[in-house]
Amino acid sequence: MANISKAETTPKQSSRSLKSVFLFLGVFFTVIFCLAPILWQILTSFKTNEAIASIPTIYFPSFNQLTLEHYISLGLPFLQYVLNSAFVSFTSTLFCLAIGAPAAYTLARLRIPGENIILAFVLIVTLFPYVLLFLGLLEVVKFFGLGNNYLALIIPYTAINLPLTILVLRSFFQQLPKDLEDSAKVDGYNTVSMLLNIVLPMTTPALITTGILTFIFAWNEFIFALTFITRENLYTIPVAVAQLGGASVYEIPYGPIAAATIAGTLPLIILVLIFQRRIVQGITAGAVKG
């Protein structure tokens, strides 16, 4: 018996160390794959124009090949774009939660006819590419005279984030203990006051999770912002940065673009660093549990 177990340890140990080699390679590859493009963009944003255009490529610039000029060249207009994006994303997130939470509660707890059809509709709508919508929305925007008005972005952003909001919040509401709501009813709460005073405060973490996701999606939206906003001082980040790239065909300002990439996405990177766990939770709740 003892002999057999002794003989077995060697192959097992070697397979374990083989496994750790594979794991190390996998981790190494994952980190490089995910971060290399963004690291390269960070490096480019700090290199002088000469260093950017040098062949062969400079991977480790010396001190005098580094500069802040690209960030400085973005200047005040860029701050304006960041504020625009922040305003549009934040407002649409608030709208989305305000409209989505009650809808999610209905789908989680209240019996209404056609519930399943509504749920199926909400699920299917998440699959629509926005390019199918902009033509019709363009007419709506023109009809209401909303061109170059943030409502032309806030309303669509609220809508495109509603399905996710409803699905995620619904799955959180369903996990709440039902007794609580029953006893609240006995205490004389009606549905709306119970939702406002008991259910929503208890699901604040879920609201934050959903809010982070909708904020990110609104910040990143491109096609509506490109179509409905033509006044430069109203641009959001994706459009503003894309316009930098298209400013001139022959001399593309790579340094400023790189700086704009980093400066314009810094808020999102910070959100990811702080709320990594919540974001993962939100994505899986929205896709799998729905």
Binding site: L23, G26, V27, T30, V31, F33, C34, P37, I38, W40, Q41, I55, I99, A103, T106, L110, R111, I112, V122, V125, L127, F128, P129, V131, L132, F134, L135, L138, V140, I155, A159, I160, I166, T191, L195, W219, F222, I223, I237, P238, V239, A242, L244, G245, Y254, I257, A258, A260, T261, G264, T265, L268, L271, V272, L273, Q276, V280, T284, A287, V288
Partner: protein, 302 residues
């Protein structure tokens, strides 16, 4: 009697609570699609001075003979199939890595979220810079590795431009697949693997016989989401190549956008929207059917 009253009231409250959401969804999703169906039966372009003129199936007839449309549909299919396949394999690999326990796992998980969180349009520019024909880092690395003699153009060559787009898309969206698959992996009991390895199965057999079948719902959901998104790809291509060179990376969505915004051909653009929508719905129905089947298999197998 009283029970019935309560039910009635609950129903009314339910509708009131859900109504605003339904109205917003109807305005932004249903109306544009319905409007496109209606408009697709009209000619409304510069030739008609942007006045709608009813012309039956004229736009659809035109679409059948429109080589540019078929080319864009082909490009879309190539882009979608290749990028989703790579993403699934890569996403599975990353999910398996993230599912292990090791030091610094939190950091690796956070890094894996970065590509997902950043705006596609902005990162498209970053990728255009990486694939730059003159100063791009891809050219430099390939030359340093001795795989190439001189710099080549990437975004100016039809095949290589498509390649660059697929690389950028895979980078951007693989994390999403990994996150979904990881959630599935974490729900599989470790006991299953232990029992299986006691029976003498090696890790590859365990992967094939336990992981893959149990992960099937997540795989299909991820594929469904990714298929719809990749089929409607716009931001990345608009920013990186604009559909060029010579239309070689023009997808259906880029063509729709150009038709409406550049050529101001609203009627034909609407027909393109309708056809793309119908193609997408067909594919989704098929996928949903497969999904329901895989769920049945799962419960049947347990």
């Amino acid at each position: 009697m009283k029970q019935k009253d309560i039910e009635q009231q609950e129903k009314r409250t339910g509708w009131l609570l859900i109504l605003p959401a339904l109205l917003v969804l109807a305005l932004v999703f249903i109306y544009p699609i319905a409007r496109a169906f209606w408009l697709s039966f009209f000619r409304e372009n510069l030739g008609t001075q942007l006045e709608p003129i009813f012309s039956g199936f004229y736009n659809y007839n035109r679409l059948l003979g429109d080589g540019r449309f078929w080319q864009s549909l082909w490009n879309t299919s190539v882009f979608t199939v290749i990028s989703i396949t790579i993403e699934l394999v890569l996403g599975m690999g990353i999910a398996l890595v993230l599912n292990q326990s090791f030091r610094g796992r939190g950091f690796v998980r956070t890094s894996a979220l970065i590509p997902w969180a950043l705006p596609t349009a902005v990162m498209g520019l970053a990728w255009a810079w990486i694939f730059n024909g003159q100063y791009g880092v891809v050219n430099d690395l390939l030359q340093r590795l001795g795989l190439m003699e001189t710099s080549i153009t990437w975004l100016g060559d039809p095949t290589r431009a498509m390649f660059a787009l697929i690389v950028a898309e895979v980078w951007k969206t693989t994390p999403f697949i990994s996150i979904l698959l990881l959630a599935g992996l974490q729900s599989i009991s470790v006991d299953l693997y232990e029992a299986h390895s006691i029976d003498g199965a090696n890790p590859f057999q365990s992967f094939r016989q336990i992981t893959l079948p149990l992960l099937m719902p997540q795989i299909i959901i991820a594929l469904l989401f990714r298929f719809a998104q990749a089929f409607g790809v716009f931001d990345l291509i608009q920013v990186m190549t604009g559909g060029g060179p010579a239309g070689s990376t023009e997808t259906v969505s880029i063509y729709i956008y150009a038709t409406v915004r550049r050529y101001l051909d609203f009627g034909y653009g609407a027909a393109l929207v309708v056809v793309t929508f119908l193609l997408l719905v067909t594919a989704v129905v098929i996928a949903a059917f497969l999904l329901s089947k895989s769920r049945v298999n799962l419960t049947g197998g347990q």
